[in-house]
Every structure is written in C-alpha cells, then in structure tokens.
Subunit: 546 residues, 2 copies
Amino acid sequence: MPSKVIQDYEEIGAKKRADRDSNLIKEWLIPESKLPKSKDVLKFPEESGYLSEKEIEVTTSSAPKIVNYIAEHKWTSYEVTSAFCHRSQIAQQLCNCLSEIFYKEALSRARELDTYYEQTGKLKGPLHGLPISLKDNINVKNHASTIGMVDFCFNPKGGMKQNSAIAAMLLDMGAVFYCKTNVPVAMMMPETTNHVYGTTTNPCNRLLSPGGSSGGAACQAALRGSCIEIGSDIGGSIRIPSSFTNIYGLRPTYGRYPTYGTRSGLPGLESVHSVNGPLCASLESLEFYMKTLANGDPSQYDPGVAYRPWQQIVLPSVCSFAVLMDDGHIKPTPPITRGLKMVTEALIKHGHKILDWNPAEHDKLQQLISDFFVADGGKHVLKVTEATGEPLYPYMSNYGTSSEISAGKLWDLQSKRSAVCKAFLDRWMSTAKTTGTGHPIDAIIAPVTPMAGSPLDKFGDYVGYTSVFNALDYSVGIIPVSRANKRLDPVDKSFKPRNASEKFIWDNYDPEETEGGSISVQIACRRGEEEKVVALMKMISGYLGK
Amino acid sequence: MPSKVIQDYEEIGAKKRADRDSNLIKEWLIPESKLPKSKDVLKFPEESGYLSEKEIEVTTSSAPKIVNYIAEHKWTSYEVTSAFCHRSQIAQQLCNCLSEIFYKEALSRARELDTYYEQTGKLKGPLHGLPISLKDNINVKNHASTIGMVDFCFNPKGGMKQNSAIAAMLLDMGAVFYCKTNVPVAMMMPETTNHVYGTTTNPCNRLLSPGGSSGGAACQAALRGSCIEIGSDIGGSIRIPSSFTNIYGLRPTYGRYPTYGTRSGLPGLESVHSVNGPLCASLESLEFYMKTLANGDPSQYDPGVAYRPWQQIVLPSVCSFAVLMDDGHIKPTPPITRGLKMVTEALIKHGHKILDWNPAEHDKLQQLISDFFVADGGKHVLKVTEATGEPLYPYMSNYGTSSEISAGKLWDLQSKRSAVCKAFLDRWMSTAKTTGTGHPIDAIIAPVTPMAGSPLDKFGDYVGYTSVFNALDYSVGIIPVSRANKRLDPVDKSFKPRNASEKFIWDNYDPEETEGGSISVQIACRRGEEEKVVALMKMISGYLGK
C-alpha cells in the first residue's frame, strides 16, 4: 500500500478556515479599515450603520415575538433569517465566533418555509421560520463537526451523515440553521481556540476570552447574531461562556433535552453526561426554548430522553437561598464578589432568606469529574490529535499524561461519586431546619468562575465552581448581574492566596484589563428543576432591573 | 497478627439461616406434617384454616383499600401488620421465600403508628401503617443485606448502617417493614437460590423456580404474604419472577423511582442501571404504589432522581401494538405462544391494531448488556465469593471466566449501546406509517421468557426477552394471562431448534412438569412511560377478565 500523504495540520486547518470564509456573503463584508479597534464591540452592530432599522428590530426581538410575527404574516422567515445572517457575519468579523457558515442554505430553507406557509396556511411547527444557531458539535447533515480538531475538518468527507437528535427535532419544528459556532479543541478547554478556526474573542472586551467551550455561541448571542444559541455543557461549557459575555444560559439535567448524536471529544463517557442547553441575550427567548423543546417530546428523537412536559410552577412568596461566596479553593476576584453581594442584597430586600453555602463536597466532586474526563487515559482525544499531529494546548496537557483506568476502577469511582452526591443532597435537604421558610433552600447562588471574563491564556486550571454541578447533574441557570468596573472593583491587596491556582488568578486580576468584563452568577437548583431555575432567573433578573 | 480463622462458607450460611428462622413466630408455625405435599400451593394459605377470616380479608385487600381502612379507623396498622406477618410466615414455610424476618419489630412499629394516629389525629403519610415487603438488596438499618452471598451474612456486623433511599422514603411515608425476600447470588441468576438461604420455589408449581432475581418477592406476593413487594430489575429481575408466579410487576425507567443505597452485586455499574419496582398480586396495589411513590418526590432522597409527578393519561380509543412472537433466538414454548395469541386476539376483538415486531436490534442489545455485567472481569463478585470460598453456581460461571476491559473500551461499548438504542427508537417511531392509527405503536407485547416457569436448574442461559428492555431502559409491565395446561399446551414435535440454547429449552419443555405454570406477557412502552404502561396493563387485564 502506498504510504499515506500526511498533510501538515496547519495546512488542513487553513484550508477548512478558507472554506468557511468563502461562505461569507460578499455584499455584507465590512472592510478591515471600518472594523472597530475598541475592546468592547457590543454596540458596534447597531451603531455602525451596516444594519438596517428592520434588521436591528428583528435581531433584537425575542424568539417568541419572532415566531408570532412570522405566524401573523408580519415578517417572513426569509427576512428574519437574512437579518440574523447579516448580523451573524458582523459578529464573525468582530470576534471570529463561527465554525460552519451556511447562510445561503438558510435563506433557501427560509424561502421554502415561507412558501409552504403561504400555500398551505400551516406552520411547520412551533419554531416555524426561526433561525437557531448551533454549537459546532451538533451534527447537521452535510456539514462538518470539527469540534476544533484538525482531523475532523474533512472527516467524514462531505460532512456528517446524520443530523443530531436535537437538529432533527428543531428542523421538524420549523427552525432554520445558518451557522455553527466555534469551540475549543474537543470542547475540553475553558477558552475557545483551536488549530482550525483560531481564537474567538469576547465582545464585552476583546482582550478577554469568552470562555469555553460554547464560546462562539456566547459571543454571537451577546452580539445578537442569534436569538437562540444551542450550546453544550459537561464541566461548565454553557455557563462559563454565558457568564463571560453577560447573557443568559441554562444547563439542564440530563435526560430531558436531546443530546444523542452530537460529536464528542470523549465519546461514550457517561460517568458525567454532556447536555445541551440555550445561551440567549434575552431571558424570554431562553424560556421559550426550554418550554418549546420540552413540550415537543424529545423522547421521539433521543433514546436517552424521557418525556417530561414543561410544568407551570409558582414560586413561594418567600424563597430561601444558600450563597457561596468562596469555595475555599479560589476566592472570586473583586468584581464577582461584588456581583454576589448585589444579588444577595436584592434578595434580602425583597424578603427572601439567605444562608451561607458550605462547599463541603465540592473538592471531591470536582476531583471525580476530572478523573472521569481522562478515565480512558486521554486515548480518544489523542487518537484524533495524533492523526494529524496537531499539538495539545497546555490546557489539555492532562490528556497526554493520564493513565487509563480499568472498567472496574471506573465502577468504583462512579460508586464514590454517587455517595458524594447523596451527601450533598442530604445537606441541601437539611437546610429546611435553618431557612426559616419550613422548606429546604430553593437554590444555591454561586460564582461561575472566579473571574469577570479571563484574559486570553489566563483562565488557569480551575472549573470547580461549575463542574460540581455537572457531577451532581443539577439544573443551573446563569444570569448577568453587572459589568466589571475598575473604580468599583480595585485589587484587594490584603488578600493572601491559599494555593498556586488562586495565586495565578489573583496575580492576573488587573482591573484595567478586565474593564467591562461580565459579572454573572449561577442559580443552581436540583435535578430536573428547569422550571424553577427559569422562574428564579426571571425573579432575580427582575430585581436587578434587567 | 493472628491468622484469621476461616469459617466454612456452609457453616456461615447455616448460622445466618438459623438466625432467620429464630425470628419466626412460634405460635404460627405449621407442623411439618400439616404442610401440603402438592405442587400448587397458591390456595393453601386460605384453605388450610390457619388464617382467620379477618386475616384473609386483610391480606387479600388492595393496598389503597388498606390505607383507607386504617385512615378511617376500620382497621389498625397492628392488625393489618399481624395478618401479613402471619401469612408471610406461611409463605415462608411453603416456599422458602424470605431472607430477613423481623415480624416483632414490625408489630412494634405498627403499634407506634397506631398510637401516633390516635394521639394526633394525623397520618404519618400516604402509606401510614401499610406493611411493605422489600427485596434483600434494599438496605434496612440494622438488618443484613446478604444478596445471597455468604460474606455479607454478618458484614457489616449488626446489619447495614443506613437505610436505602427507598426504605427511608417509605418509612417517612408511614410504611411498615416486616421481612426481606430471598434472591439468587449477587442477584445475577435467573433462579432464586444461594448458599445462605437455599432455594425459593414457585407457589404455582413447586417443581418450578419462581425465577430471579426477585424470586422471593414474587413468591410471597403470589401467596399474598404481602400486598406490595419491592423488587429490582437489571436484566429481568422483576419481570421474570412476576411472569413465573402469575402476578403483576413493573420495571420503571431509571431516574424516577429511588434506587440509591441498595446493595449491589455489581456496585458502580452504570452502563445499565438497576431499578426498583413493584410486584403485586393486585393491579390496584401496583398502580397505587407507582403513583404514590412518584408523587412523593423521591428526588429528596435519591441523588439520581428527578421529580416527575404521576400524570393522568387517557389512552387513545384505538391503540396499536407490535407483537413479538419469536425473537429468532429462542421461540417460546407452547404455553407462552398460546398466551401471546390470547392477548393479541383480545386486542383485535376490542378494535386495536396489531403489527409484528421485528427484533432486529435484540441480539445486539442483549449481547451488550451481557458484556456490561462482566466489564470488571467479574472482580466485584469474585471479591465477595472468594472471601468465604463459596463456589460460583454454573449460572454465574462467566463471572469467573471473563476478562476485565479498560475504561476506554467501556466508553466504546456505551457508544455502541446508544447507537443501537437509537436504531430501535427510530424503528419504533417509524411504525407510525403502518399502524393505521396515525401514531407509532403504543407498546410492544412480548414474551418474558420462553417458559411458563422453569423447572429448577433448567432456566438455560437466555434472558434476552427481558434484558433488551434494560439496555433500552424502557418502562415495562408484566401481566398474567393464564396458566400452563398440558391439554392445551402439548409438545410441538415438529419444531426444529435453531441453536443449542433453544434445543435445551425445548427439550426440557414437559407439559406434565410445567402444569399450572404461569403464562404472562410483557407490555413494553418507551422511556419514562410508566403511566401508559399501567393504563395498558389495566386495559388488557380487563379484556382478559382479570
């Protein structure tokens, strides 16, 4: 057999990148010289004059308004799709947030949906005509799912052969796909960069990372290049980027929303499940997505789902919350602490009860989840990276250094994880004795990361604030609280770091560099409590004047 | 250190057995000479004169009637508990169905509940005063969970230290525990026998096995020594015994009913989940259990559960079913085929639609689940059996001969399982094109095993009719259809077995030996469709005149 011609990994990546760029719409391209130099580009799409008033109106509307307007013949799917494609392309030029671009295919699909509606008077489904943006790992037939890995650029040839369960369901409901969003290598790094598409930056402050792994999704949502982004989360991958870009995000519990048939960096890992969820600039859009998908019965598409329709819930008039100010490993930097205090004060002001949350099990949970990620000794990741010789980023060095464990040892780790989750649950339930409401806490309010958006390459090595809730498989929402402000968030020179990870984060905290970075918090409820999470997100965002 | 004195495993088992027997109530003991010699002993408890009329009335009442009568002060928990303890002891004398016996403790708890109700006018919960029997693996504080393994007889000393999540929940709801039921070694054999308590026999025909692993539970439920038995099912362990003893059983999907903190033969295995569910002589009792537990919010007790209250559902007036007459591996013996035809005819007569089910994925699913059981190379089982030197039964020889696989290989098997489950789901959904109802099938009707109760030691090596639904994690009910009848179910001499497993089953089919054995079917719905399973069990049982 002839020896295989090994192409340079950079060459393959460059070709894929060029393919992507060839799908940009030429008439919409902004000349380099007209692109902004500023760090904060959130207002650029609306203030630069490149979008029409109608395009701005469409792209700043919530998803339920858009589908209603289409149903009421006020807007066509074509004009809605075109507006989002246009704004999406501007987002791409500003922050490099996209992997796959297929605006023309989207416009053609939108036209078909419009025709179908005109001719039959029927809507395809509850998402008829609505553009939805997908994270790169969500397979769309005939498009690549590179997940930031060079070997997947043209493998399989001609793109993926099947739609992911969630893509199939959304299409049946009438959605329009127009792009996929950039991710870190194998979606296993907290910053969105890879050897195919390069680095996605944070539109709040382009010196910062939007985080990862749903960094492209969060970036585009913040710039309103989309009204609904679908991301995924196995260690914080929806929550970290949502928190870094000042938008809403939600990580549901596994088994309610479809996940089957996405491309994974760690395929077959089930000790902790990756889940899909929305990232949205508008909370109304997020709620609409959560409700519409749950009610659509994803169990028809995904063998791992049990159907559980969206429930109407009424919050108690007095809720109670446990607030985590510091997990003992890395104390949040000043802007995050300020955000936690703002939320706590708003809750107290509105008559709710506040306790401290003792993170007794957090260390164990985040260690277990780290062990699960490399239970195969990194083999699944290395098989793909080694196929083209692309090097591992420092963030992923453990995939090159871990040893594979046996199935029996994995069973033991899983037993241990269940026991720690039980201890956590028991402590949660035992708060009933101290909340003063007669019930256990309604949620934990916690930092997402210690930072208000991390400077590029400076995330450090800690995702413990988010990963604990993956190990628990809890339902967790992210709400924006404020923006970092160098005047309000000065360096706390009295703080003495307790370990190297904390020192790294605190040494790198520079109020000037972080200026405008996003301040957000997690609202964590128990398994399957998506309705409650959304209700609390609305309640607290309301208190914050959002 | 002094060398540990190794006791003979038989000696340890004998001591544990004697401990159990010492807890029998002397006044209730039936002299050996008065015990029946017949194969079928189902009627003995009521016809032998050992039970009072009141005891018979109580023990043949459904669970909801019992809790209502206690709430209405018609019966006390004490008299209800005493009646079930008495009948339970008769069941034990007839078929050796129990592991732990603690009637006196139960009577004392019942007395406390009665006093509490008298003094406060309040019920402890929706199960106030109701005796419930537990499978041996469900930990009850201060009682052993041997799971049929000699090393667990006195380990930990003094019994288990914590209640299983389900036991804690049932106690909080007011249930009374009075015994635990016998299981096969590690609950991983299809007949209920072990070196501690010996063999449980089938009350329909004591030459037959009640199956396993919830064989003791099924046996006692059939004799109405309980109104609700809780069993567990990882490959058929609720369904096979229910089917062999002519009672109702239900295997729910994982994640709705509590399972945490039970003793497992394969601890930490999550590629397929063991689940708990009811075995009941009365369908009303079964429905009451399913509804009451779901509504009680088990997520407060079990970290693996998401709360999903019981829904009211209305079945379509015309349902459709796919019937599996033969999975291609082992064709059911004549009584089972007759049962399947009875169900099919009843459904057609009532206007429902019937298709054939093509078991295209069954081979793969049952192979995968077999691989998962020994992914650790049998290490977890062997560690326990080797501690006392108890030998492996032939049914478990693969635990001694399998090789452990790596975590990475386990990931690959899990990926494969998900893909096969997806193919199965897609075929299920695609039946919408052929049912004639406009919807996919409502359920699959299938054999439970090829046999109407297996002669002792002759189960063979195949649990593929049940284990496919464990791999799928579907919600599956068992309903009794009829009893084996040598006149109606003669040997089919024309049948040519297609493989050694099938030859073994068919060679061992002896209508004389199987006389009176139970004929039952599975009603399999998709993930989480417990409400639908129960509704279909009621509908079809009604057609069958049950």
